[in-house]
Subunit: 370 residues, 2 copies
């Protein structure tokens, strides 16, 4: 095999596929890229058996062939080469000669046949969405998964399509994040659970362009994302997702409208007084026109008032400040609505248009200690 | 004590003095700042007994007094406050109330009398130098100290003043870095060894301005740096520094003039093939008009040629690539001169004006393996 590619084209292929290279494995072939130039295109593939990524690299094929090559080393070599044409020349014993200007590297590759290609995905059920929307919806929900939970369903996100609506849901035992996105067409109903790791990696690869489209294909066991020159295939998580609707409620006793930035900065400051592992709640007291935030730990105490609009009863309620911060960070609106029922029930942060609902469980606190 | 300071003035004081706060100590008072407003100025001080920093913070003293306050917590609180006036109010029991806009923090301070003030330094022997020159000369030499060596002299740098010349020297067992700086006046002869830690910290505080002056005062046991509103005091390292001149030589068999950037990039690439802890040398072959760099490890091999101007004999010599990289990084000249004697003797990288000399010992290598 002999190829000529521009350094930057190779590097962008390397950066994309690197996301599916296994870092902890006893199977050394999973630590490799496959470079396949047998079919008139230069395809670079990585596959850790859960997640697989294939991308096409621009370049010239002088002699067709394929080789599997240690991904980390190859990526570091490409990164450090001068910004010029790179020649990759692999002989019959898979010795790879990488040349750029006066620099010559010799490394040992492996037979491409040892490599597991991506599974074949039937392109039947699908939707189209902009890269921007997909990247945003992942950012706005992924923090609510529990990626260490034994219940695999909590390590993924529900993608539910019905009509022209895509609903994305993430939850751990303490909170739920729900986002609804309007799609550009009506689609068949689909309901799958996508691994959080897949979504994290794909959101790093997406350029996030408003006008760039991702086609997403669904089969029983797999999801395929197709965009730019890249394919990302992932296994789905099996099982019936949680019944979200039973956990939601639109009743409330108290509604607060508050400036998001002020609330976020205030809680962020308060967390200075909590050492890691300490489970001190932040205590929120809602009164007419003002919300008071208090925290009290063995390090010190902090309180701060923020002006609000309030409807309904006064209330005192405690939260894990981390959960509030995570949620406030992903809401772009300047003013937010928070709905409270009572100090033992979850609060809901939601907009009037139904674009998002965030549910957060309160924590118990003893007034005496705070 | 009651003070009003702008958040950013406080923060800059915090950032400067933080460098002398001890992180590993059993004496909790060393983890504190002292805020002293007893003498008409707001002085913030930290002192880990080796290194002490005192800086004046702009602000208004409503009520004089002093307090010692846990440095890390205080710095985090100040950092996260809104960008506005901060009121620090400390009562007789050293409870500190920190207020900014609607945010109120209460933390516990300590009696300022428990705190070790900086040692009194007699301002007799001194020099003046620009912040730019001091910051540069530290950067250009500090990498050659051996901060873990049992010989304390190797953990510091020689500062030797003679006439209008400041010579700064750093060395470990394998290399020497020497920089000469012309001072703006003639000074008394001085020869001291300054701890590397002090120089590292001070170079982070210096703004590096060409027109900003640092006054440096010397006593038998201490060095004092005075600049902007800040004083930095450090103990000196005791003992007679190494006799550098005996290690230098101006004889050579081969002189090479090479492009620094090309040589640095080439060696940087070559190190990809060396895993940490592996002591593979880079082998340099000097021929007419060209220098060849080769590395050969169990990962793979690399070779590259760079065009040079050469005087004298051909030569083959091996180096620890890390040492070459460290040195090349701090030389600003585009073309450098390297002088070689033989494969067992150090090479010298030096300019014609005597501004710098870098000595690097070669390593043994067997030609058969490379």
């Amino acid at each position: 095999m002999k190829l000529i590619c521009k350094k930057n084209d190779l590097l962008s292929g390397v950066n994309i596929t690197m996301k599916a290279v296994s870092s902890k494995t006893t199977m050394s072939i999973l630590e490799c890229f496959l470079i396949d130039a047998t079919e008139g295109k230069i395809k670079m593939t990585a596959n850790d058996m859960e997640l697989g990524i294939e991308t096409v690299v621009q370049g010239e094929i002088i002699e067709p062939g394929s080789v599997a090559i240690e991904a980390k080393l190859f990526s570091e070599i490409i990164r450090k080469l001068p910004d010029n044409d790179v020649v990759i020349d692999v002989d019959n014993e898979y010795k790879a000669n990488i040349t750029c200007e006066n620099a010559k590297f010799n490394i040992i590759g492996r037979d491409g046949d040892d490599f597991s290609y991506l599974p074949e995905i039937k392109k039947e059920k699908s939707i189209s969405i902009s890269q921007f929307s997909l990247k945003e919806v992942i950012r706005q929900t992924i923090f609510s998964i529990d990626d260490k939970n034994n219940n695999k369903l909590m390590t993924g996100e529900l993608f539910e399509i019905s009509g022209n609506n895509l609903k994305v849901v993430a939850l751990d035992g303490h909170r739920i994040a729900i986002r609804n996105i309007e799609l550009n067409a009506e689609y068949e109903d689909i309901k799958v659970v996508v691994p959080g790791k897949t979504l994290n990696e794909i959101s790093k690869i997406l350029n996030g362009g408003v006008d760039d489209i991702v086609n997403i294909y669904f089969t029983t066991n797999h999801i395929l994302f197709e965009f730019d020159n890249t394919l990302v295939v992932s296994r789905l998580i099996e099982g019936e997702y949680f019944k979200i609707n039973q956990m939601l409620s639109s009743d409330y006793e108290t509604k607060v409208v508050i400036n998001k930035r002020e609330m976020l900065d205030c809680i962020d400051r308060a967390t200075l007084l909590i050492k890691e592992g300490d489970k001190k709640p932040i205590i929120i007291t809602i009164k007419d026109g003002v919300m008071e935030f208090k925290i009290n730990s063995f390090i010190g105490s902090m309180d701060e008032e923020i002006y609000i609009q309030k409807e309904g009863k006064d209330m005192m309620i405690g939260f894990n400040p981390r959960f509030l911060i995570d949620t406030l960070k992903v809401i772009d609106e300047e003013q937010i609505n928070i709905y409270y029922v009572n100090p033992k029930s979850p609060c809901f942060i939601r907009d009037d248009e139904g674009k998002y609902i965030y549910l957060i469980l309160p924590v118990n606190f003893s007034v005496a200690n705070n």
